[in-house]
C-alpha cells in the first residue's frame, strides 16, 4: 500500500495535468479569457450539440420512387441519343410503364443491331457479375430494358452520395461553415446546421430538385387540347411556373442543367433579376447547335417540370452563356442560382424529422446546466467532507479532477456535449463518489473489526475494488447500448456517462489511493479518523 513509486506519482500527475490543460479551452470558450489562451497550448474544444448551440437538425429521406423514375428517364434519353447516331435506328411507341423502358424498332432487320448497341451501353455492376440493365427482345420487334436489382441498388447508393454532396454545396456554397451532412441508413441524409434558427430557408434550398432542361416548344399542338392536358405524340404538356396555364413541349431534351459549369444571379437590361448560366464545352456545343437549327422558334426553359419561360430564339447562342428570365425576386433568383450551380438532386428528398433550437434557449440551457452542475458538485463535496473527514477531502479532490478529466477527454476526441450530456455529467458526479464510498465504508468496517490502520486501508481498497468493477461494467453496458441506439442528444448523454465511468475509476481508485499512501507515509498516523 505504501509502496508508491515515484514514477507512478509522476504518471498520475501527468494525466491530471493533461486533463486540466485539455479542458481549459472548452471552459473559457466564449469568454474574454479565450483570447488570452496561448496559441502553443492544446486547442481542443468540446463540440456543443445543437440543443446547446442553437441550430437546425433535419433528417431527409430519399423518395426512392422518384429516384427510379429519374433513372428511367435518363435511360430513355440515353437510348434515344444512342440510336439516333449513325447508322440511325428509328424507334417508336416508347413507354416507361411498369418501371421498364420499352419501344418498337421500326425496321425489323435492325432489331439485332439495336440490341447489340444497347447492351454495350449497360454497365457491369461492380463485382456482382450482373449488368445494371437487362436488354430483351419481345414480340420480335419490341425491345424491353429492365433495371436489374443490383443495378438499382447501386444506382440508389450512388444517388445518395451525389445527393449528400449537392445538399452540402447548397447549404454551404463556400465550404466554410461547420455543418454536418451525412448519409444514414442507406436512404437518409442527416443535416445539422448550427446557428440557423428558421429551418424554412434551409428546406427551401435543399428541397429544390433544380432539374433544369431546355426543350423546344411544340408549335403544332392545338392550344385547346393542350389546356386539357393532351399533347401530340412525342410531346408533353407542362404547366407554367407562374400558374398562367399549360404549354406543349417536345419530349426531347435539347440541353440539360447537367451541362452547367456555373450559375449566378444577375439583372437583365430592365433591372429585373435573372440568372446567368454558363455551359461546359459539350453543353455549349449542343446549345449552340440546337439554337442554330431552331432560329425563330420558341424554346422552353423548364425547372422541375415547370416552364419558367418560353422565349423566342432570335439568333444562335454560341458562346455557352445564357440568361434565364422568369418572374424572380432577387432572393429566389439567387437561391435558384445556388441550386443550379450545385447540380441537380438525383433524387427528391423529403424532410421526415426536424428539430430547431434557438441560440437563446441553448444559451439558457448552458447557463442553467452550469449552475446546476456547480451547485451539485458543491453539495456533494460538503456531504463527503462531513461524512468521511480527511478521506472525504481526498474523494472531493478526486471528484474535481474527474470533472476536468471528463471535459478534457471529450475535448480531445472533439465529442459533442448535449443538454442530456450535462445531466450525464451531474449524474457522474453523484456516482463517481460511489467508488470512494465503497472504499471508505469498507475501511470503516475493517477498523471496527480491529484491523490495524494500514491493514484496514489496504483491505478496504482491495475488497472494494471488485464491487466497483462489477458495478461499473453494468454502467458501461447500459451506456454502450445507449450510445449505439441513441440519436443526437441521447448519444451525447451516453458518451458522457461512458467517459465518466472510466475516468471515475481512475480518480476514485488510483488517484485517491496515491493521496492516502502519500499521507500515511508522511504523517505515520496511528489512528484513523474515518
Amino acid at each position: 500500500m505504501l509502496e508508491f513509486p515515484k514514477w507512478k506519482v509522476w504518471l498520475i500527475g501527468l494525466v491530471i495535468a493533461a486533463g486540466v490543460l485539455l479542458s481549459i479551452p472548452s471552459l473559457i470558450a466564449g469568454t474574454p479569457y479565450a483570447s488570452a489562451w496561448p496559441k502553443w497550448m492544446p486547442q481542443y474544444k468540446v463540440n456543443l450539440g445543437l440543443d446547446l448551440a442553437g441550430g437546425s437538425h433535419l433528417l431527409l429521406e430519399a423518395d426512392q420512387q422518384d429516384a427510379l423514375k429519374q433513372r428511367l428517364q435518363a435511360k430513355e434519353d440515353e437510348v434515344a441519343t444512342e440510336l439516333r447516331r449513325d447508322p440511325r435506328i428509328d424507334i417508336g411507341d416508347i413507354s416507361t410503364a411498369g418501371g421498364r423502358l420499352s419501344f418498337m424498332v421500326r425496321n425489323p432487320t435492325q432489331v439485332d443491331a439495336a440490341v447489340e448497341r444497347l447492351r454495350r451501353l449497360s454497365q457491369p455492376v461492380q463485382l456482382t457479375g450482373n449488368r445494371d440493365w437487362d436488354v430483351q427482345v419481345v414480340d420480335s420487334t419490341r425491345i424491353v430494358l429492365t433495371p436489374s436489382a443490383v443495378g438499382t441498388t447501386q444506382a440508389l447508393k450512388d444517388a445518395m452520395g451525389v445527393a449528400r454532396d449537392v445538399v452540402r454545396r447548397r447549404i454551404d456554397p463556400g465550404g466554410t461553415k461547420e455543418i454536418t451532412v451525412i448519409t444514414e441508413g442507406g436512404n437518409r441524409i442527416l443535416v445539422e446546421v448550427p446557428g440557423v434558427e428558421d429551418p424554412e430557408e434551409l428546406k427551401k434550398l435543399i428541397g429544390q430538385t433544380a432539374r433544369l432542361e431546355f426543350k423546344l416548344v411544340d408549335m403544332s399542338a392545338d392550344p385547346q387540347q393542350v389546356q386539357q392536358g393532351r399533347a401530340p405524340p412525342g410531346s408533353q404538356v407542362l404547366p407554367m411556373a407562374d400558374g398562367t396555364g399549360f404549354i406543349a413541349v417536345k419530349r426531347r431534351v435539347m440541353v440539360s442543367g447537367d451541362q452547367l459549369t456555373d450559375a449566378s444571379q444577375s439583372f437583365d437590361q430592365d433591372g429585373r433579376p435573372d440568372i446567368n448560366i454558363k455551359f461546359n464545352t459539350t453543353g455549349a456545343r449542343r446549345f449552340g447547335r440546337a439554337t442554330q437549327e431552331n432560329v425563330n422558334k420558341p424554346f422552353a426553359i423548364i425547372l422541375d417540370d415547370k416552364v419558367l419561360s418560353a422565349p423566342n430564339i432570335n439568333e444562335p447562342i454560341l458562346g455557352g452563356n445564357a440568361q434565364i428570365a422568369g418572374s424572380f425576386t432577387v432572393q429566389s433568383a439567387h437561391d435558384l442560382a445556388v441550386s443550379l450551380a450545385s447540380g441537380k438532386l438525383p433524387v427528391k428528398l423529403n424532410v421526415i424529422e426536424e428539430r430547431t433550437v434557438s441560440a437563446e434557449l441553448g444559451q439558457d440551457s448552458i447557463h442553467k446546466g452550469a449552475i446546476a452542475s456547480i451547485v451539485s458538485v458543491l453539495c456533494v463535496i460538503v456531504f463527503m467532507l462531513v461524512t468521511y473527514g480527511r478521506f472525504g477531502v481526498y474523494a472531493d479532490i478526486a471528484l474535481v479532477v474527474n470533472a476536468f478529466l471528463i471535459l478534457g477527454i471529450m475535448a480531445m476526441f472533439n465529442a459533442t456535449l448535449t443538454l442530456p450530456g450535462i445531466a450525464g455529467f451531474i449524474l457522474t458526479i453523484g456516482a463517481a463518489v460511489d467508488a470512494n464510498v465503497l472504499i471508505n465504508e469498507r475501511i470503516r468496517e475493517e477498523i471496527r473489526r480491529g484491523r490495524r490502520l494500514l491493514d484496514a486501508v489496504e483491505t478496504g481498497y482491495r475488497e472494494a475494488f471488485r464491487a466497483i468493477f462489477d458495478a461499473n461494467v453494468t454502467h458501461v453496458i447500459s451506456a454502450g447500448i445507449m450510445a449505439y441506439f441513441g440519436s443526437g442528444p441521447v448519444r451525447g448523454f451516453a458518451v458522457v456517462l461512458l467517459i465518466g465511468v472510466l475516468t471515475s475509476v481512475f480518480t476514485a481508485v488510483y488517484f485517491t489511493r496515491m493521496l492516502v499512501a502519500l499521507w500515511i507515509r508522511r504523517e505515520r498516523p496511528r489512528e484513523l479518523h474515518i
Binding site: 430547431t356 443538454l419 450535462i422 445531466a423 449524474l427 463518489v433 464510498v437 458495478a471 461494467v473 441506439f485
Partner: protein, 316 residues
C-alpha cells in the same frame, strides 16, 4: 470534527423478516403499475407518435385560453398547449397532419410566422417535427435498447456470479422499470427520448446497489460456510447498508439539484433517474436478496465454480 454517520456502527436490521410481505407488496405494486400503464397509457411525446411541438417565449404574460384561441384559428389541428413554468413560456403541441409525410413541416412553419405576428416580441425558441415513420423507428429502437440493456446486464451478472443472481438482477430491473413507468402513466409526464435515456440509466444505476450487495453476499457465502442463508443475507445487507445509504443520498442530492434548478428541457430525464435510484435502492434490498432464497442459493453455491481450496483466503 465529529463525522456524520447516517448508519450507526453495528446496525443489525432483520431485513429478511419482512421479505415475504415485501415481495408480495412489490409484486402487487409492479402488477398495479403495469396494469395502470396499460390502462391509462403513457403521455408519449412526438418522438414516439409523431407530430409537432413549438416552444414559444412571449415578451409579456399571455393567458393560455387566449393563446389556444389564436392557434385554433390557424386551422392546424387540435392543439395541446402547456405552460412551462410561468405564463410567458408555452409549449404548443400539434398532432401530425393527415396526408403526406412532408405536410407536417408546413404546420410548424405556419406557427413560426403566425405567433410572432400576433404577439410582438414573442420568440419561437424551439420547433420540432417528427414524421410517423421516424417516430415508429424511434419507439422501436428505444424498446429494443432497453430490453437489450436489461438482458446484457443480467447475462453479465450470471457470468460473474451464479445464474440465480442473474435472474435476481433481471427481476429487480423489471420491478424498477415497471414502477417508473407507472409513475409516468400516473403523473402524465411526457415520455420523450430523454426519458428513454433515463430508463437506460436506471437499468445501469439501479443495478449498482444490487451488484454491490451481491458482491458482499458472495464474499460472505465463502466466508461463513456454516451460516444459514437468511441470517447471512441479513448480515450482508447490514454490512453494506451504510454504503447503500450514502451513495443513494449522494446521487439523489445531485439529481435533486438538477431537477430543481436545472434546465426545464431535461426535467423528465432528471425525475425519472431520481425515482429510479430511489426505487432501485429499495429493490436491491427487498427484491434482489430474497429472490436468492427462492432460487435456492446455498452457502455451497459458489463451490461448484471455484475449487474449494482456491476460495479467497479470508482472515478470521
Amino acid at each position: 470534527m465529529k463525522l456524520l454517520k447516517l448508519v450507526p456502527d453495528h446496525t443489525n436490521i432483520d431485513f429478511m423478516r419482512w421479505r415475504n410481505l415485501a415481495l408480495i407488496l412489490s409484486l402487487i405494486a409492479t402488477v398495479t403499475s403495469l396494469g395502470f400503464t396499460a390502462y391509462r397509457g403513457l403521455n408519449l411525446g412526438i418522438d414516439f407518435i409523431g407530430g409537432q411541438v413549438v416552444r414559444v417565449e412571449f415578451a409579456e404574460p399571455v393567458h393560455i385560453d387566449e393563446l389556444r384561441a389564436r392557434v385554433d384559428q390557424l386551422g392546424v389541428g387540435e392543439a395541446s398547449i402547456q405552460a412551462l413554468g410561468n405564463q410567458q413560456t408555452y409549449q404548443v403541441r400539434l398532432p401530425k397532419p393527415q396526408g403526406p409525410e412532408t405536410a407536417s413541416n408546413a404546420v410548424v412553419s405556419k406557427l413560426r410566422t403566425a405567433i410572432p405576428q400576433a404577439y410582438p416580441g414573442a420568440r419561437v425558441d424551439a420547433g420540432e417535427s417528427v414524421s410517423g415513420k421516424v417516430s415508429e423507428e424511434l419507439a422501436q429502437n428505444s424498446a429494443i435498447a432497453i430490453a437489450l440493456a436489461m438482458l446484457g446486464i443480467a447475462i453479465y451478472i450470471w457470468f460473474r456470479f451464479e445464474w440465480q443472481f442473474g435472474v435476481g438482477a433481471l427481476l429487480t430491473l423489471g420491478h424498477d422499470i415497471a414502477m417508473t413507468l407507472g409513475f409516468f402513466a400516473f403523473t402524465r409526464l411526457q415520455v420523450d427520448l430523454n426519458v428513454v435515456a433515463a430508463f437506460l440509466t436506471i437499468v445501469g444505476y439501479s443495478l449498482n446497489d444490487t451488484v454491490v450487495i451481491y458482491d458482499r453476499i458472495r464474499e460472505d457465502l465463502r466466508k461463513y460456510r456454516k451460516m444459514a442463508i437468511l441470517p447471512l443475507l441479513n448480515l450482508s445487507l447490514n454490512e453494506t447498508l451504510a454504503r447503500t445509504v450514502v451513495t443513494s443520498l449522494t446521487v439523489l442530492i445531485a439529481l435533486g439539484i438538477l431537477m430543481l434548478i436545472g434546465p426545464q428541457v431535461i426535467f423528465g430525464l432528471a425525475i425519472a433517474i431520481f425515482l429510479g435510484v430511489l426505487i432501485g435502492t429499495y429493490s436491491s434490498i427487498y427484491i434482489s436478496a430474497p429472490v436468492l432464497v427462492w432460487l435456492g442459493v446455498q452457502p455451497d453455491s459458489f463451490l461448484k465454480s471455484d475449487e474449494k481450496d482456491e476460495a479467497e483466503p479470508q482472515p478470521a
